[in-house]
């Protein structure tokens, strides 16, 4: 009876762990291949919380977001920005309604993000790791 209970608990734990890891999508932060600015997590965080609007070479940052419902955005928000999507949205709303900054442009898919980043030297975005190809440069995984 005792062994059965341990077996059930172990299976449930394993199932939960798999479910959580299946929900968390691997993602990469990408920039244009011609972007030579150094980009680390601190810089990405500043860009996506409205504190940094220009690259170090002077170009105006064009940040891109995936839709709120995207699991890749959830992963990006929690692992890179350290906050939930809801908290980040509230932060941007405060900046909008006090006239301080406008939020990153929301685009519909990884392909759209790649397309914009590949053609705009100042663009930055994030996509699922599985969508990465040579058209863009990965700067943070």
């Amino acid at each position: 009876m005792k062994h059965k209970l341990v077996y059930i608990i172990s299976l449930t734990t394993l199932w939960l762990a798999l479910a959580v890891s299946a929900g968390a999508a691997d993602m990469v932060v990408i920039v244009n291949n011609g972007n030579t600015n150094s980009v680390d997590q601190g810089i990405v965080k500043k860009i996506y919380t409205g504190k940094m609007k220009s690259w170090s070479d002077g170009g105006s940052v064009k940040a891109l977001d995936l839709p709120e419902t995207s699991p890749v955005r959830e992963t990006f928000s929690s692992s890179v920005l350290g906050k939930s999507v809801s908290n980040i949205k509230s932060l941007w709303a405060q900046m909008i309604f006090s006239g301080k900054a406008t939020p990153p442009k929301v685009v519909g898919s990884d392909d759209e993000v790649k397309k914009i980043v590949a053609t705009d030297k100042n663009a930055i975005g994030y996509i699922a790791a599985s969508s990465l190809d040579g058209s863009v440069k990965a700067v943070l995984k």
């Binding site: 504190k51 419902t69 909008i96 301080k100």
Partner: protein, 370 residues
């Protein structure tokens, strides 16, 4: 007056239609409308209020639905460094809430010129966007009738963000211009001041201090006179001219992280020889990114020399809960238990000496942003 009401009705109708169209037209998960390079955002609320004793904000014991406001914010980047901002706002009065040109020199320094929201306290610049606040009824210091923190001014604001490496950052916001005075009988002169905010290395912790100094001319005076033989008074307005100064000091601490939302703020104002003050402490916690109960204690005095008279002070304990239906819509319900009725007197709905000392209010609202 009738024409103004008609205009308000039309304005709110048009604003509502634009907002509904905007929200309905949003692609799934998008945050704003972008039309020809102009980004459009907005917010609003519809509230219901009921008061068991003193009439306040149009609410008596029958309750009122007349607690509505809506706003649309337009922003357009005209160059990489220059953005034009406009906010239209409709509530009791309708019109241009703020509009300014923002020029960014670099990541740390920008300047705003135009009609700008007053950087005073943690709420002031977003106080009308109830979706972003813990409560529908804001702390007394932020309410227009308290005449403490002005909403906006015309002039200039610089924003300088000084990075301190591992020690956080300090944001300096010096301002200069002329306050927009919502109250009757005052003419505002030149104003200067500013806000300093320290963002501590402990994420979510901010400490702020602010101050404004302005010249002011009082052009009329309100005198309260006994009304018949009863306990009430009647207010009579007489013209006058008196020049003086208005000084305001503010301090606040804010911690928002891990679902916690803790705030305490204090403001003190001296206008001519009269002093006003207010403070509050508030705590909320968000469960599952959706449900946020909160508690608050709020004190406000509209005349510190008469702060033992319940007509001039109000102590209020509040408890409430907010629920986010999704990223754009929320519901809130709250209960406010007050001792003193300074706010109903300040709003002109109750005469000094004629109110009930102990009274309660229930407030519910639906709020949205996009």
């Amino acid at each position: 007056m009738k024409a103004k009401k008609e205009f308000k009705k039309w304005f709110c109708g048009i604003l509502g239609a634009v907002l509904l169209t905007a929200v309905a037209g949003l692609p799934k998960g998008a945050f704003a409308l972008d039309i020809g390079g102009v980004e459009i955002h907005g917010y609003g609320h519809q509230g219901f209020l009921v008061s068991n004793e003193n009439e306040y904000l149009d609410a008596g014991d029958d309750g009122t639905w007349n607690y509505t406001s809506m706003a649309i914010v337009f922003s357009s980047k005209v160059t990489d460094n220059t953005t034009i901002w406009i906010q239209l706002y409709g509530a009791d009065e309708i019109g241009l809430d703020w509009t300014f040109v923002d020029y960014r020199f670099n990541n740390n320094l920008s300047v705003q010129l135009g009609q700008v929201k007053l950087p005073m306290g943690f709420y002031n610049e977003t106080r009308d966007a109830r979706f972003l606040q813990l409560s529908t009824l804001l702390p007394a210091m932020y309410r227009t009738e308290a005449e403490l923190i002005h909403e906006a001014y015309r002039g200039i604001r610089a924003i300088y963000d000084l990075e301190l490496g591992g020690a956080g950052s300090i944001i300096f916001e010096p301002i200069g211009g002329q306050l927009l005075d919502e109250s009757m009988g005052h003419k505002q002169g030149q104003m200067f001041g500013g806000r300093i905010t320290y963002q501590a290395p402990l994420e979510g912790l901010s400490l702020a201090g602010a101050s404004t100094f302005s010249k002011i001319e009082k052009r009329s005076m309100q005198i309260e006179m006994p009304y018949g033989t009863g306990p009430g008074t009647v207010t009579v307005t007489t013209p006058m001219s008196k020049k003086g100064e208005m000084k305001m000091w503010y301090a606040g601490v804010d911690y928002v992280n891990y679902g916690l939302d803790l705030k305490t703020e204090y403001v003190w104002m001296k206008m001519f020889d009269e002093t006003h003050s207010a403070y509050y402490a508030q705590a909320g916690y968000t469960f599952f990114d959706k449900l946020t109960p909160f508690v608050r204690y709020d004190y406000n005095s509209t005349d510190d020399d008469q702060s033992s008279d319940p007509s001039y002070y109000q102590k209020c304990a509040s408890v409430g809960v907010g629920y986010k239906i999704n990223y754009n819509v929320s519901l809130k319900a709250e209960y406010h238990i007050s001792d003193g009725y300074a706010m109903p007197v300040a709003s002109g709905e109750v005469s000094a000496g004629a109110g009930e000392d102990n009274w309660n209010m229930f407030v519910a609202s639906m709020n949205f942003i996009f």
